[in-house]
Structure formats: structure tokens, C-alpha cells
């Protein structure tokens, strides 16, 4: 069923009795051309682009829970492409371009809202650094504007401009950045992939990877053995666990990142705003809740829940940036487990096993990358060659000394 104003009207007149499920719930077939492990944003978008752009439709997405139950439903929904390094910027810009056309492309309302992303700076040194980042973006054709204090004040008068230690001196604005309704991204990709013949198999956990003569022949699952020609891993948070089934040794540590939402408020925060003297980001959902988050919890964790000390730290940062936040009540907090790679950047690459492909290491930044990650991963799987914009996201870059260290930090997950 194609969604349109007409279809809504038609359903309304017939009492909403004719809506059909957005995707099927098939039993697994004995064999697929491609199996994707992980029904999150990246797995589903990979399946969607494999079917739509590369004509490979005999594909299964295997998910141990329900689709969207992992990090695609647990993030702070921010999209942006304000990256500096040559290895990152074109990739995230491709992603932003795909976001811009996504809803028409997959015929689903994902509430893509380009409300702008504003990064605040608090010192002369930081202004220089942000100017440099903005220039690097503009060289790549990405929009960036360096705002002074008064320009920021016009956008967000409620900020704490005269903080004694971290006064706000200005900000770097990317107007094309914004937010997206995260669950709808998973649903839209799932529906689009399903319509093109992809089987989405939920509540099916991969328990083993079967190999013969050095190549993968299929996966053992809780629904039995499923054969495949190519196997693609997109199991963020559990990459190491799944990778170990194929004896992969990876530069990944799993950490928990928390996010928070306040009670619904009248519209107050128009952009996504990030704090430069710490690590804090906030936006307001269309429902009115303030959605915000900060750093990871600093210790390795597979639990989808966080620690109170990090909650306190996050609130302190928030109130330092926007004193008025102290009056808002937090409604919910949750945690997601994520692959923290050793340089803070992702991996989209082949592995030592010929027909095993790897997509992992997204650290904090997986959500905004969802379309480009799926597109580049599908390109890699279909053509067996790396897409131009993901060519720096190689698995062997650590060994070769080509770390993609956007934030200028070394191999310590808890520093990113």
C-alpha cells in the first residue's frame, strides 16, 4: 500500500479497517543470497539499498529482538554532517543528502526536520578550532556558519552567556542539520525493504556462523540453520559477540550511553544545541519533550542501563548551559550499548573471510549515519568493492597506522 493524503482519506472513510501491516512476518527460507545480522537502522537500510539500488532482493535481515529495539530506538535523533576530516566529511554529507530525500524515497513520514545544529564555543582557542572545522566543511561543499555571541543570542536567548568559567562566545551553525523521528527510520526502511522482497525475521537470534573451506555457508539460529552466499554483520553493541562466532578479533569495546527526555514543554529550543565546554547535546521533540544526552558511562558495559553518576553529570552540564532546565522534570532515561572503536570512527569493510562483511564501531554517532552506512555497506556487499566515501573506514587502518581520529583522541574508547 502506498501512503499518501489520498490513502489516509480513503482509510478514514472506511473506518480505518483496511490498513495492512507495514511488513510481513515470514518464516526463514533455507537459503538467501545475502543475510544481514542485526535489524537495527543500519541493517535495515542496508537491506533496503541492496534491494532498491543494487537489485539484490533475495535477502534476509535477522534480528534477535524486534526491529528497532536496539540503538536506532535509543538515540537522541540528531542528524548533521559537521565533520572535519577528509575520511569522514563526504560520508556524513552523503548521509545528510540521503536524509533530505528519504521520506519521498521510501514513502514514509520520518519527520526529517532540518532545524539546524549549533555547536557552542567558549574560548578564543575553541573559536579558532570551530572556524577551522567550518572551513573544512565548506571546502567539501557543506554549509557552515560561524556565529558570534550576539547572533547566538538571537537564536537562543535562554543560554547562560555570562557563565564565570565557560562564557558563550559564539557557535558553529549547520542549518541543514536537525532531527529525525528515529523509530520511523527503522519502520520506513523495514517497510521499503519488505516491499522489495526482503525477509525481515524477528525474534531469531544468531547462535553460530557455519564455515566450510574458509568461507561462510550460513548461520545457525534459534529458528534453525539458514544458508547464505554472503553474510553481513550490522550488530552494533554486540559486534564482538557475533564476530567471535567467525573468529574475528576486533578493535571494539562495548560501552553504555544514556539519553534522557523531559516532560512535554511548550516550544522553547528551536535547534539542536551542543555544549562546547563538555559534551552535552539537546533538542526538543515535536511532542515537546527535551531530548538530551552527554558522555558514555566510561566503563565497559553490555547492560542497556546506565549509572546515576553519569545522570548527575549530564544534568549538571545541561543546567550550566541552560539554567532554566533546572525547572524541567526528567520523564525517562534509558541506555544503549554501543561499539566504541579505538579511534572513535566506524568500520565498513570486508574481513579476512571472503564472503563475510562487517559494519560496526559507530560509537556515539551511528544514527545520523544510518542512510549512508546502509548505502555504502550495500555497495560493498553487492559489488565487492568499497564505496568512494567510506574508503577510509577500513578495518585494517589501525594496523596500518591510518586511524580516523576525528576528535583527536587515541585508542581509548572511554575518551571518545
Amino acid at each position: 500500500m502506498r501512503y499518501s493524503a489520498f490513502s489516509i482519506l480513503k482509510q478514514a472513510l472506511s473506518g480505518n479497517r483496511l490498513w495492512t501491516p507495514a511488513w510481513r512476518e515470514p518464516e526463514p527460507k533455507p537459503h538467501y543470497d545475502v543475510i544481514i545480522v542485526g535489524g537495527g537502522g543500519h541493517g535495515l537500510s542496508t537491506a533496503y539499498y541492496l534491494a532498491k539500488e543494487f537489485g539484490i532482493t533475495n535477502v534476509a535481515v535477522i534480528e534477535k529482538g524486534y526491529i528497532g529495539s536496539g540503538n536506532v530506538g535509543r538515540n537522541t535523533t540528531i542528524i548533521r554532517s559537521n565533520y572535519m576530516l577528509e575520511g569522514n566529511n563526504p560520508f556524513y554529507e552523503l548521509s545528510l543528502k540521503l536524509w533530505e530525500g528519504l521520506e519521498q524515497d521510501f514513502n514514509y513520514n520520518a519527520m526529517v526536520s532540518q532545524r539546524g545544529v549549533l555547536n557552542l564555543f567558549h574560548s578564543d582557542g575553541q573559536r579558532d578550532q570551530y572556524a577551522r572545522r567550518g572551513n573544512a566543511m565548506r571546502i567539501e561543499g557543506v554549509d557552515a556558519e560561524l556565529l558570534d555571541r550576539e547572533q547566538v543570542r538571537r537564536l537562543a536567548p535562554y543560554l547562560n552567556f555570562d557563565h564565570g568559567r565557560f562564557p558563550i562566545m559564539g557557535g558553529l551553525l549547520q542549518k541543514r542539520g536537525g532531527t529525525v523521528r528515529h523509530d520511523a527510520v527503522a519502520w520506513g526502511y523495514a517497510r521499503g525493504a519488505d516491499q522489495r522482497g526482503v525477509d525481515i525475521i524477528q525474534h531469531c537470534e544468531v547462535t553460530g556462523i557455519r564455515r566450510e573451506n574458509g568461507v561462510v555457508t550460513g548461520v545457525e539460529t534459534t529458528k534453525g540453520f539458514i544458508g547464505c552466499n554472503k553474510l553481513a554483520l550490522a550488530a552494533a553493541g554486540n559486534t564482538t559477540t557475533v564476530g567471535r562466532m567467525a573468529d574475528l578479533q576486533l578493535p571494539i569495546e562495548t560501552h553504555v550511553l544514556q539519553a534522557f527526555v523531559s516532560e512535554g514543554l511548550k516550544p522553547v529550543i528551536d535547534q539542536v544545541i551542543t555544549y562546547g565546554a563538555g559534551h552535552f547535546y539537546i533538542s526538543q521533540s515535536d511532542k515537546g519533550g527535551l531530548v538530551f544526552g552527554a558522555d558514555i558511562d566510561y566503563y565497559s558495559s553490555y547492560a542497556q542501563r546506565g549509572n546515576l553518576a553519569t545522570v548527575e553529570h549530564t544534568m549538571q552540564e545541561g543546567v550550566t548551559m541552560i539554567p532554566g532546565l533546572s525547572r524541567a522534570k526528567v520523564l525517562r532515561a534509558w541506555g544503549g550499548v554501543m561499539d566504541m572503536s579505538m579511534d572513535g570512527s566506524p568500520i565498513i569493510d570486508r574481513t579476512s573471510i571472503d564472503n563475510l562483511y562487517l559494519n560496526c564501531g559507530w560509537c556515539y554517532g551511528g544514527f545520523k549515519a544510518t542512510p549512508a552506512s546502509g548505502f555504502c555497506f550495500a555497495h560493498l556487499i553487492a559489488k565487492n568493492e568499497t564505496h568512494r566515501v567510506s574508503r577510509f573506514m577500513r578495518l585494517d587502518r589501525f594496523e596500518r597506522g591510518y586511524a580516523l581520529d576525528e576528535s583527536g583522541k587515541g585508542p581509548q574508547p572511554n575518551l571518545h
Binding site: T240, L250, Y299, S300, S301, A303, N307, F398, E399
Partner: protein
Amino acid sequence: MASLISCPHCGTRPKEEFSIRGAVVARPQPGAKEDAWYRYVFIRDNPKGRYQEYWHHAAGCRRFLVVDRDNLTHEVFAVTDATEFAKNAEVAR
């Protein structure tokens, strides 16, 4: 995460006094091959479950400790001084 850590020198202390350094991985000899260093710096076992991490008691004795804990249930099994831990590992080897 457990909120209290039993430091062998300072007693039971809140976890906010500690700063976490990361997985306990044996440091290669200075003359070791590049591959050994690569594995030491970048590759992690990253197990789901029992896990050993270096914790620095930054707001206490300032000793490095090895915290043996479960990263899914957050149960803490043992806290050992890092020097002690290395000695025991040496004996076991």
C-alpha cells in the same frame, strides 16, 4: 554498575572516586614485534560477562587497581592492587 568499590588500601569507597583506564592487557616487551604492539593497543576481547579492568583510585590512594567484575550484571568479584595482580599473573605463568 556497582556503586561501591572495595579498595584494598582505602576500604569501601564510592565508584566516583575512581577513574577507569580500560581492559587489563599485558604490555609487550619493548622490543616486541609490531604485531604484538598493535594487538596491545587496539584489539580487545570485549567479553560479555566477567571482565577485568584497570581502575585508578584517583581520589584515594592513587594506586592502580584491577577490578574483576561482570559487565552485564555489574557484580564486582574482586579488587586487587595492580602490582599484586601482576605478581600473581607472573606466578601463574
